[in-house]
């Protein structure tokens, strides 16, 4: 046996040992009396992380606790509740709930409908491992929805799932090639992202490994700061040219425009519509899975809860609301958040962090440190990334989708709505909770 075979066998044995122990831990922790004392924060309390692990393990919403429905941030989704119909007046459990939404509301271009009102957010190769990208793509295929490449390129292994993979075109143009543009049924232009609005993508040097650098055609171990904004776009008209360029290469592609949430996000929405977007993706400031300056996360651009109704109402007043699909992201953690986002005016949502939590993320925020994520998620370290087996990861994400679908159907039944589309913009079905509702948490990290 050669030395490299021996090393590989050794690495596999070590990985197997830790993978088994980790999976056992993911299953055991949700059932224990108390969560790990150092876990969680106000946005994602420990109980919510564990409830997400439970859903990813079972495929069903937890029973007997509402920990899986909200965080403890004292604002936004965490201050909104629902006005349920009185017991017995909702829809019965036999009623089928239609969760599908169209992604193209224009009278032309291909009809694409997804059976659940969400798809996966862009996470680049480099920010996450190829295994994680594959897991998400497999889950998207299973559910008939999508995931996005992010801006780090298009690994060859993803082509098998290309009908469920959105090709992202971001300011760094990493991985943007004719073949990847032709592969996507949806092309997503990333103008900005919620976690670092106005700053462009960040991949710190430690994570720009040889394989990542090769994919991005850059230099290994050198930090990659994508420019901001697109240097060719300074107006809606410039943006229209971008769309035309992509449509020339791939005439059948739907166009998604991903923007952040500035004070004029409503104007941006209208501009995106007139530039030819089928999907407007608004990304609020409290989400994000990748590296971001701490100052940007909290302080630049508004949270998604404020942006959704602003955009929805403006599109309505312009008479174009039903010609564009609005997808919201940036802090969507639960099925209840999904329902609240839709009630505020979105058509659907885009999930990022919750998928990573399903695969074991503890939200420790060490994604950018050294070799990357100790759970094998946000890393391309050859050893650590083996902790995620794509098939296992896909099962976890798929189970979370299943739990979300069941929970969302329950919410709609309790509101008496047979279709998720009926919930859009129904702020009359929401309640604003008192300021101290459910607040007894002290962030200790």
């Amino acid at each position: 046996m050669s030395m490299s075979d021996k090393n590989e066998r050794q690495m596999r044995a070590v990985t197997d040992k830790h993978t088994r122990a980790l999976r056992s831990g993911f299953a055991r922790w949700p059932g224990r009396d108390a969560p790990p004392p150092a876990m969680g924060d106000l946005r994602w309390p420990a109980d919510l992380i564990l409830a997400t692990w439970a859903q990813a393990g079972t495929g069903a919403p937890p029973v007997g606790s509402d920990a899986h429905t909200h965080g403890l941030s004292q604002g936004g989704f965490d201050r909104l509740g629902f006005k349920w119909l009185p017991d017995g007046e909702g829809l019965g459990s036999a009623t089928e709930i239609d969760l599908a939404i169209p992604l193209n509301r224009r009278p032309y271009d291909p009809r694409i409908e997804i059976p659940v009102p969400w798809y996966g957010a862009g996470m680049s190769y480099g920010s996450v491992s190829e295994q994680v990208m594959l897991a998400r793509a497999m889950a998207a295929k299973k559910w008939g929805t999508f995931t996005s490449t992010g801006e780090g390129g298009y690994p060859d292994s993803l082509f098998e799932y290309k009908d469920h993979v959105i090709t992202q075109v971001a300011t760094g143009m990493f991985g943007v090639r004719e073949v990847t543009l032709k592969a996507g049924r949806i092309i997503e232009f990333k103008y900005a992202q919620g976690a670092k609005p106005g700053l462009g993508g960040h991949l710190l040097g430690d994570k720009a490994t040889v394989s990542v650098a090769k994919m991005r055609q850059s230099v290994p171990w050198v930090s990659l700061f994508s420019p901001f904004p697109f240097h060719s776009v300074y107006s809606v008209e410039d943006h229209r040219k971008h769309v035309d360029w992509v449509k020339t290469i791939n005439p059948d592609a739907l166009i998604s425009i991903k923007v952040s949430t500035p004070t004029d996000v409503d104007m941006v929405a209208v501009g995106s519509y007139y530039a030819g977007a089928h999907i407007l993706h608004i990304d609020g400031s409290y989400g994000g899975t990748g590296a971001a300056p701490e100052i940007a996360k909290k302080n630049i651009a508004m949270p998604i809860e404020y942006a959704i109704p602003k955009v929805h109402r403006y599109l309505l007043s312009e008479g174009i609301r039903d010609e564009i699909t609005v997808m919201a992201s940036g802090g969507i953690r639960t099925a209840h958040d999904i329902a609240k986002a839709i009630a505020l005016g979105a058509d659907g949502v885009i999930l990022g962090t919750s998928e990573l939590v399903a695969m074991g993320c503890t939200r420790c925020s060490n994604c950018e440190r050294g070799r990357g994520c100790p759970f094998g998620l946000t890393t391309t370290d050859p050893e650590l990334s083996l902790l995620i087996d794509p098939v296992w990861g896909a099962e976890r994400v798929s189970n979370l989708y299943s739990a979300f679908a069941q929970e969302l159907s329950t919410i709609l039944r309790k509101l008496g709505l047979p279709k998720v589309g009926d919930l859009r913009g129904r702020t009359d079905l929401l309640t604003y909770l008192p300021h101290d509702a459910g607040v007894n948490h002290v962030d200790q990290r």
Partner: protein
């Protein structure tokens, strides 16, 4: 005059005093021994696999591994406790609760220490972790632009964003006498390359040698340090960074000094002291330092155009929080038509990088920093640190060069973070940010607009 691009020379300056670790790691020794024995049999003596540890940060890297965990290395990823729920327990270190005080939180302290040690912008993954909005600074978000950018090369590229400001009095117009000479209108400004000054230290630290470090760092940064006059050592000349803070009763004595500063600050409004200084030192910018909420009528009528308003270290003023107080005084000067001729410096409650651009948006020209300087130097508050008169701070024994570098690093990091905010907005210079509340989003307004129609909504 040759062009010089402003640059802050950051360099590593690690903590010199012990700092409480973030986490404690407890391992059940019995459980670990039992696991090892089981694994030795399971893996048939393959010790490489048996001894492979669930930590990539070296917590279990000592000679006896988990039997003596190196908790200082723990970053709280929780992988060990996830893998072995019955054996490993990672807990927040309760000693950290003693860091800072009720306003300057332990997390805030950690951030400032990182900034002072590295001079870098803190970058982390996994999104925002904190409270949704909140009172004070947290109730404001800054705007950004999707397509506008001040430079095509990024904020650290060929072109750059100016953080230069002027401090002093700037007449709206110049007037001339019959012979063409300037007719009394003063253009008396000090040009600083960044809108951050160092404010006076708490009384308990005065004359403890820290003033020298402040002056060293301020000099290197080309900014100013406000030092109580009575705490100054004997000097034959004034360092360019020095702003002596003087009580009105001491002005006559100050004027006997052999040196002249570029700027002097009077503690509280006193018309006689102001006139004396302006007359005796005409090239000197004379500022008045007073609490937020004090009337500006008298100073304005007397020709004072440089104000340093002060809140307590927790940002409290007579009319509420410092953010609102800044807006009040800025708006008041705008209404009087003298805002462009006036300089507003503010202090108190500014404990994080984001507070600086927010304070400028609210209406300040510059901030004068207080408690973050103490934390950067690894000072430990003893009890609540609310005012310069009552705050007790335990400072470590450090050398002057280290202290200077720590302060330079802090300013380097905070300036870079301000550039992130300005860059995101597409603003090329910080002077344009002053009073630009249109580039801020306030929680009260956003909440009303988004949720106003929802049952149960209460406008705050």
């Amino acid at each position: 005059m040759s062009y010089k691009r402003y640059h802050i020379p950051v360099a590593p300056a690690p903590n010199s005093a012990p700092h409480p670790r973030r986490f404690n790691v407890n391992v059940s020794k019995l459980g670990l021994a039992s696991l090892l024995i089981r694994e030795i049999f399971h893996y048939r003596g393959d010790m490489s696999t048996v001894l492979s540890r669930p930590c990539m940060y070296g917590v279990f890297s000592g000679p006896v591994g988990g039997f003596a965990p190196r908790a200082d290395n723990c970053v709280g990823c929780l992988r060990c406790t996830v893998q072995y729920p019955d054996m490993v327990r990672v807990e927040p270190n309760p000693d950290r609760l003693d860091l800072g005080d009720s306003y300057f939180t332990p997390d805030n302290v950690d951030t400032v220490l990182y900034e002072a040690a590295t001079g870098r912008v803190p970058v982390k993954g996994a999104g925002y972790r904190g409270r949704y909005g909140g009172p004070g600074w947290d109730g404001m978000w800054t705007d950004m632009s999707e397509i506008v950018r001040p430079t095509r090369d990024g904020i650290h590229g060929r072109e750059f964003i100016s953080t230069q400001i002027d401090i002093g009095e700037r007449p709206a117009w110049l007037s001339f006498d019959e012979e063409g000479g300037l007719d009394g209108n003063r253009w008396q400004v000090i040009r600083l390359p960044l809108p951050m000054l160092f404010d006076r230290l708490p009384d308990s630290l005065l004359s403890g040698g820290w003033e020298a470090a402040l002056l060293d760092a301020a000099g290197s940064l080309e900014t100013l340090a406000i030092i109580p006059w009575r705490a100054l050592p004997e000097m034959s000349s004034a360092p360019p960074a020095l702003v002596p803070l003087v009580a009105p009763a001491d002005v006559d004595q100050l004027l006997e000094a052999a040196w002249r500063p570029r700027m002097v600050e009077i503690e509280g409004w006193d018309a006689r002291a102001f006139d004396r200084l302006r007359t005796a030192w005409p090239e000197c910018v004379v500022a008045v330092r007073m609490p937020f909420g004090d009337s500006i009528d008298g100073p304005l009528a007397s020709g004072c155009r440089t104000f340093h308003f002060v809140a307590d270290f927790h940002g409290r003023t007579s009319s509420g929080f410092v953010l609102e107080s800044i807006r009040l005084v800025h708006d008041s000067l705008v209404v009087r038509g003298v805002r462009e001729q006036t300089t507003l410096i503010g202090s108190g409650g500014l404990t994080a990088a984001e507070h600086v651009p927010k304070a400028i948006i609210a209406g300040l020209d510059a901030v004068a920093l207080d408690t973050p300087l103490l934390i950067a130097l690894q000072g430990r508050f003893r009890g609540e640190c609310r005012t310069a008169g009552t705050c007790k701070v335990e400072m470590p024994n450090v050398d002057r060069a280290w202290a200077k570098q720590r302060l330079i690093n802090l300013m380097g990091s905070w300036r870079d973070q301000m550039l992130e905010i300005l860059g995101a907005m597409g603003i090329r210079e910080v002077r344009r940010l002053r009073g630009e509340v249109g580039r801020a989003m306030l929680q009260a307004d956003l909440e009303k607009e988004a949720f106003g129609e929802i049952e149960g909504y209460v406008h705050v």
